[in-house]
Symmetry: C2
Subunit: 578 residues, 2 copies
């Protein structure tokens, strides 16, 4: 696994390159951060010719390591104006890795036409993509499977990406071949759309097995770990990420009515427990897996009363930002919204935040499901209102004249109010990724690798939140470069296992500190890209309303000093103390 597939969309040329040695121990997010810093002018226009879209499996991609099938998608973000990596489950990452690709690098833009890039063991070719334009992505994937086989891996943009909407995702097909998993954040779908690349197909049939320096040791560690995950992650298997709804509502950090409360009086109705009951009664599926061989299986297939597929998978972030944040407690309605977003290629978090802001502006009342459906229709039709929402929360806030706009660095905050989960607030404020819980989510119970972080702080206290965020940003980046789903745990034991697996894969010793060091390099490279792009530590701050308004029911405000947020990356420690 040491090749780059470099495609130039200007003239549809394809080059397969040996990856230079410096990239050997870089994968996923780490590889993307370095390639972008090395090859892309940070001041370029995100939707212009000079940006690049980089797609990369992690260092453990394509191996039997559990949950190693995350696909990283990156580029300069049209939403934040800075660097972005967003990753997704699905089947494509493992297939790309098995074909020997560390990364697909998509450059420039064609003067006309739309394209599909098909990759297989013989190389890659361009196909005409025009006949997929305008389709719902479920339908587009169905046609692609019909033409190219059921087992094809698919990375695809929806109509939102075609139109370069800033909340457009890159969907990655799940084992059923549906566009149900998304590299959702930062508008990577718009970047792919700007390159007129409708889809990438990955056919790994006939690929050689990945080489391992010590295959037996690697398999033993993987098996043991998978077993442990299956035994310990039972809540995730049963309830999926939706298990968090009642937890965050109880903690008081569940975004409710555009972040005006941290608890939703109808949280029960959109809880994981309720969803599991509904799914089981109707004959849907819980314990669904988004990538092959996952021992956690947190995904689900949500069906309607007749048992027909409504959406897959209904996740916590969607339940919160399209549910409580909009004052909606109707699971079926949220499932329909989610299905629309999957098919149209839209980030449910960014759109949920934007609709919340539109509701605060009085465009549609809170709780009005029909009103939200009308907004989705407007998004589809491309009315001016639809196009405002399509540009994300910050622009919606500006256009609609709302002051309470939950964004950092141009990106909507995800489904944890930072006033009652302050470590995650620190991550929102400081991550080079913009407001993104997947950069380091400091939920109670999570711990870092230092003395200071061996116990989880009170989520409403300002104490030790910066340290927690630092550690969890590092530990999350470990997962992101290894290609691991962070549900294996963004935690020290994971870093230890990654050290072992990297050793057995590459035949080189890795200390835990070295494993963390790569993550630190990843983040610092992103910070540097952003600095050159003109996004600086001055942007490491939350909107003012979070420090001015008390959040019911805890009454908590975000009270971590902006000066401390500005200096968070000055001395990132990766020395393991515990």
């Amino acid at each position: 696994m040491n090749k780059f597939l470099r495609v130039d969309m200007r003239n549809q040329s394809i080059k397969i390159e040996e990856a230079p040695a410096k990239y050997q121990f870089m994968g996923g997010r780490r590889l993307i951060s370095q390639l972008l810093l090395d090859e892309v002018d940070p001041t370029c226009e995100p939707l212009g010719r000079h940006n690049k879209l980089v797609i990369a499996p992690g260092l453990l991609g394509g191996t039997p390591a559990p949950c190693s099938g995350r696909l990283s998608v990156g580029g300069k973000s049209p939403l934040t104006g800075g660097i972005k990596e967003s990753n997704s489950g699905g089947t494509a990452a493992a297939k790309l890795a098995r074909l020997g690709y560390k990364a697909v690098i998509v450059e420039d833009q064609p003067q006309e036409g739309w394209y599909i890039l098909k990759i297989n063991k013989d190389g890659a070719t361009f196909l005409n993509g025009e006949n997929l334009l305008g389709l719902d992505s479920y339908e587009a994937c169905k046609r692609l499977r019909e033409e190219h086989g059921e087992k094809i891996g698919i990375i695809i943009i929806g109509v939102a990406g075609e139109r370069q909407y800033r909340l457009a995702t890159c969907a990655v097909a799940d084992p059923e071949g549906d566009p149900a998993r998304h590299a959702a954040r930062g508008g990577m779908g718009a970047v792919m759309g700007s390159k007129k690349l409708k889809a990438i197909l990955v056919d790994d049939s006939g690929a050689d097995d990945l080489q391992c320096a010590d295959r037996d040791a690697f398999l033993a560690t993987s098996r043991e770990w998978a077993k442990e995950l299956a035994a310990t992650k039972t809540v995730m298997t049963e309830l999926g990420t939706a298990n968090l709804v009642l937890t965050t509502s109880a903690l008081g950090c569940l975004p409710t009515r555009n972040f005006s409360s941290g608890s939703f009086e109808k949280a029960e109705n959109i809880s994981g427990q309720r969803m599991r009951k509904v799914i089981q009664e109707r004959g849907g599926k819980t314990a669904h897996n988004c990538q092959r061989g996952c021992p956690i299986r947190c995904s689900n297939v949500y069906v309607d009363e007749e048992g027909n597929h409504l959406t897959s998978s209904l996740e916590y972030e969607t339940l919160a930002l399209m549910g409580s944040n909009l004052g909606i407690d109707d699971l079926d309605a949220i499932a329909k919204i989610d299905r629309f977003c999957d098919g149209f290629g839209v980030d449910t978090m960014e759109l949920g935040d934007a609709v919340g802001v539109a509701m605060e502006a009085g465009i549609v009342p809170f709780g009005d499901v029909d009103g939200v459906m009308d907004l989705l229709q407007q998004l589809k039709e491309g009315t001016v209102t639809g196009r405002v929402l399509a540009q994300g929360t910050e622009i919606a806030g500006k256009v609609l004249g709302v002051r309470r706009v939950p964004v950092v660095k141009g990106q909507g905050i995800s489904a944890y109010d930072p006033r009652a989960l302050k470590g995650t607030g620190v991550t929102y404020a400081t991550s080079p990724m913009g407001a993104d819980h997947t950069a380091g989510n400091c939920l109670p119970g999570r711990t870092g690798y230092r003395e200071l972080t061996k116990e989880s702080p009170d989520p409403c206290s300002a104490e030790r939140q910066i340290e927690m965020s630092q550690d969890l940003q590092i530990l999350t980046a470990v997962c992101d470069y290894a290609g691991l789903c962070f549900f294996v745990g963004a935690a020290l034991p994971t870093a230890k296992r990654v050290a072992k697996l990297l050793r057995d894969r590459f035949g080189k010793e890795f200390s835990v500190n070295e494993v963390l060091e790569i993550a630190k390099d990843c983040i610092m490279t992103e910070v540097e890209f952003n600095r050159r792009a003109g996004i600086t530590v001055a942007d490491n701050r939350l909107p003012e309303f979070f420090s001015e308004e008390e959040l019911p029911p805890t009454g908590s405000k975000f009270d971590i000093d902006n000066k401390d947020l500005q200096t968070i990356f000055d001395n990132l420690s990766v020395e393991v103390e515990i």
Copy 2:
């Protein structure tokens, strides 16, 4: 003239303070840049409680020096996210200066209500501003004159400012008391609106004469200069700024149809020459003055066929950005658009750019006057389309999916295509003010103060444009801190006269280098504010289409290296060489 009038809108309290000694030789833009750096957190939200609006006459404000009545209005800009100073003619600056005020500093926001601040020789008081809400500003000024006297100075926002539209201006009433002059750029009207300050009234009756260290010398210099200006600026007196239409069209830098051409085939129809003829035939007024005693009198009163007031004053930037840039060659139509913008409180440049972008998006065809009138109506009604335009060119471009968007640092480019007037392009790219010709307009014939800049370069050549822009940014800042209209000439002779006038006013020797040094300090203070705000030299660049697309008819592209633009302020020289 050494007092600050500090008003806290939170509790409507008013303080009159002795200005600290460090501000003694700061006025206008220089004073604003320092006050903002000293008192405002650069990372604050521009429309939030922590921004301040600062209004300041220049160091020569209120004196008999010709054209010394510019009023600087500044704050953190909601359009650029950086520091902003925008200045205007009208009568208020001289009155404020005569009352002894160096600056009015408006802080915080009230919890309810709208206010008018009335300033006179006895101090200042708040009046209820609610009954002026929603009015056309011409009508509002009429009512204010009826109530407070014909001679009152007025600074007022329109409905655009009330709604905090990012293209809202602060209007400054002219000698007739009409809101015809505007501190237009950067959304200062939105900042004033965010503070619920509808208007500031300045009554200088009974004010003492300004003190001068050497009154006779000061008057002699002023008189001699005024005479020279009256004798040499005859083109400005006859044709106003509109004289530029044929010049820029001939040079190929007149923005035409959203910056897709630099010459307009119907330029003749919107030329200064044509306008003068129409005004004279209909009984309007050329050689109108915007401030008392101006020897240049570049303003005009444009009337309809019946001789009724249509607008005052029709300026080059409006003729270009609301005319050729929209494919419109109908003077009466442009006059009506201008009148709407004055009454509603809108920057004609920002709106012209935004409408040009909307035309490129196909919202309204180029040349469609009725379509533009409909967009203005939508702005007034606050439809979503109207609100998109109201947020300025950058956001209009994003929402409407246009790639050719003429902005720098979030602000629309003014009426000179940078590809065929490259020095001005350098100013757009680098000025801490965002794309703003008033920060240093490098028209042919203009010269700096160094050997390198003693001759004006070919506007399409890349040679010496950075040096020209550096010198003219400095020379313009001299006018901006002195409170001089830059039509006296942003040039070395002006700096020499300023040195003399400052000496005779303050009784302290000023060398020409010292006069330039203050201007340099002004710019560097702004650069520092922006750096702290997160706007860096990485933002010193033009949109990519200016370097990728050839501009007809010259075929010129903007080809000045971005690296050179990034370092332009590293070594600003203020050593006079010629």
